[in-house]
Symmetry: C2
Subunit: 332 residues, 2 copies
DNA sequence: GTCGTTTGTGTAATCGTTTGCACAACGATA
DNA sequence: TATCGTTGTGCAAACGATTACACAAACGAC
């Protein structure tokens, strides 16, 4: 009990101490197994005394279930992801599942990273990152049936996925802005290679097309505040747009700051700025961003829903679609 | 190789396919073991063909090393933690260590959560959260020798720790503000129960004392923007302070917004506001916060340094102290 | 009192690796 | 040629749990 004893006691040793077999120890710790309640109580008491807990590694080896979940994300530093990750981790913990975090953004060899995680026989995989190809993920985790958090319908029939659709919400935002008399739109992308970003852009481009409009200018950042700031400065110097649709909220805040500080333009009069994500910070008084917002709670509920179906043995694949709705702030 | 095969191939099966024993398979995958290079190449080729990778769970059971690291944090949603966590996860991944994330903030039974993680025989534990008692952590992870990220010297001699000292930096900030002619200070705490918060407050209180001053008012939030906003409103209504020192940057931004929006006060003329952490957002143009800042890179380097010493067999305990320095913004 | 069922426990195999030991083959040395 | 060290490989025993199977005791029904 005091922290001095460095070795963990095993079930066999505990068995000797309690005068039973190690099988009985195991049964004392697995609810619903045939064991006398007196024996169980005695074992649990002795176990507490000696600080025994079953070894999850050994258990996993035998069970073929690890209760580990791989979370493949771009980064945790970026608030739009962090909020969702927080919700998901909370839900997993409540189900006695432990998350192993894989951050792709700053890792040179993402496939190797995923392969490493897959050797831990994770029970579930949730892929948030758009920096890995879906097919690679499916190949590497072929024993696990991953959940792809996707923005578009997948070609692969074998994979559960959560689809996010912002077409309608983007339409409402464009309608309002056009109604306010603005016509000259720019799109500030997150990353060139990101298919999520391409899709987000398409929602707005399609909405513009219905008004006979199109993006007049394009810029590419990296989802960070700094890139939003810098690209907005360049963009506003080289073209006369009066609306910037941004790939996420953080870049939108950067663009707003750039417009105000460097160009002396105010939102929404001089320039309208729109974000995407609906992170908490967007609603802060200092930001009050107009943004195409996703209900993060519903999103993570959907992920957990799929995990639970997989756990229940119904491996699917399952698909759930969520829609985005506008949050109206003072920037557009 | 195609994703259809649901079962993973074992070393014994691969051994049969390659015409060797499973011991040889194992040796092919552990660098530095006695094996003919021709055999190794052949095995690796066959392994690639059948998609074999050694099972990390079985390996951990045998080795008594899991290469898993438990990260005990309050939350990932809060930017001040997320930035550090991002850095740490990156460094762990580079060393082929995988992080298991434990979020304490929203979990009702944190001890049970830590116990669950400890059954996975993690090789290292890093405790960032101030919501768990150090002694509990040491008891639960008694086989692991945890690293406590601490703001004060520990009583327990058996634990490696990183100590953070902001006394000098806080002194510089107070000197400057007092030099600017302000005298009436309030402290906006993160949490009542947090000992980290108590210590941060003490740095500033001590600095004030050297000027013959003390905090005139106190408020308690929860490290969130909303709590910073709300508590600042209440605080400024009930007392005439002209400086608010906040427990972290996010609350400082909330307080600044409250002062500006609800009270119509500007920083730093009407009221000075100081944060703590030095998160990236503090330097954003829209915030430009004066804050007592910690070098997050040096911080995580220190954590990894201790982990590496533990891995090398030098279990310490080790102690490293870091100091905080002011970041001068426009809010104080 | 016998039979059948239920209940509680132990024995031993299993999960997929790693690794100490034994041993054969080989080249170098005397 | 006999001896020795080196190298490459297999055998089998861990690692610490879970669980199918077997069996003894207890119980109820007749």
């Amino acid at each position: 009990m005091s922290g001095t004893n460095r070795r963990r006691i095993t079930s066999k040793e505990l068995a000797k101490l309690a005068g039973v077999s190690s099988a009985t120890i195991s049964r004392a710790f697995s609810p619903g197994s045939r064991i006398g309640s007196a024996t169980r109580d005695r074992i649990l008491a002795v176990a507490r005394e000696y600080g025994y807990q079953p070894n999850a590694i050994a258990r996993s080896l035998n069970n073929q279930r690890s209760r580990l979940v791989a979370l493949v994300v771009n980064a945790i530093g970026n608030p739009c992801e962090a909020e969702e990750q927080q919700l998901l981790v909370h839900r997993l913990q409540a189900r006695q599942l432990l998350p192993i975090l894989l951050c792709c953004a700053d890792h040179s060899d993402r496939l190797q990273l995923m392969r490493l995680a897959s050797t831990y026989q994770v029970d579930h995989v949730v892929i948030f990152s758009d920096m890995v190809s879906m097919q690679d993920a499916v190949d590497i985790f072929h024993t696990t049936r991953p959940i792809i958090v996707s923005f578009e319908p997948l070609g692969n029939e074998d994979v559960s996925n959560i689809r996010i659709d912002g077409a309608v919400g983007a339409g409402e935002i464009i309608d309002k802005i056009v109604g306010d008399g603005k016509k000259r739109f720019a799109y500030l992308s997150g990353t060139k290679s990101s298919w999520i970003d391409k899709l987000r852009r398409k929602w707005f481009a399609d909405a513009l097309a219905r008004h006979g409009l199109a993006f007049e200018a394009e810029a590419f950042g990296d989802y960070s505040y700094d890139s939003g700031f810098k690209e907005a400065v360049l963009l506003l110097h080289r073209s006369k747009v009066d609306v910037i649709i941004c790939g996420n909220d953080v870049m939108a805040i950067g663009a707003r700051d750039a417009a105000r500080r460097v160009l002396g333009k105010n939102t929404p009069e001089d320039i309208a700025i729109v974000g995407q994500d609906g992170i908490a910070m967007a609603a802060w008084d200092c930001n009050d961003l107009t943004t195409l917002s996703l209900d993060h709670v519903a999103f993570m509920d959907a992920v957990v829903e799929v995990i639970e179906r997989h756990e229940a043995g119904n491996e699917g694949p399952h698909s759930i679609t969520l829609t985005c709705t506008p949050r109206w702030g003072s920037t557009a």
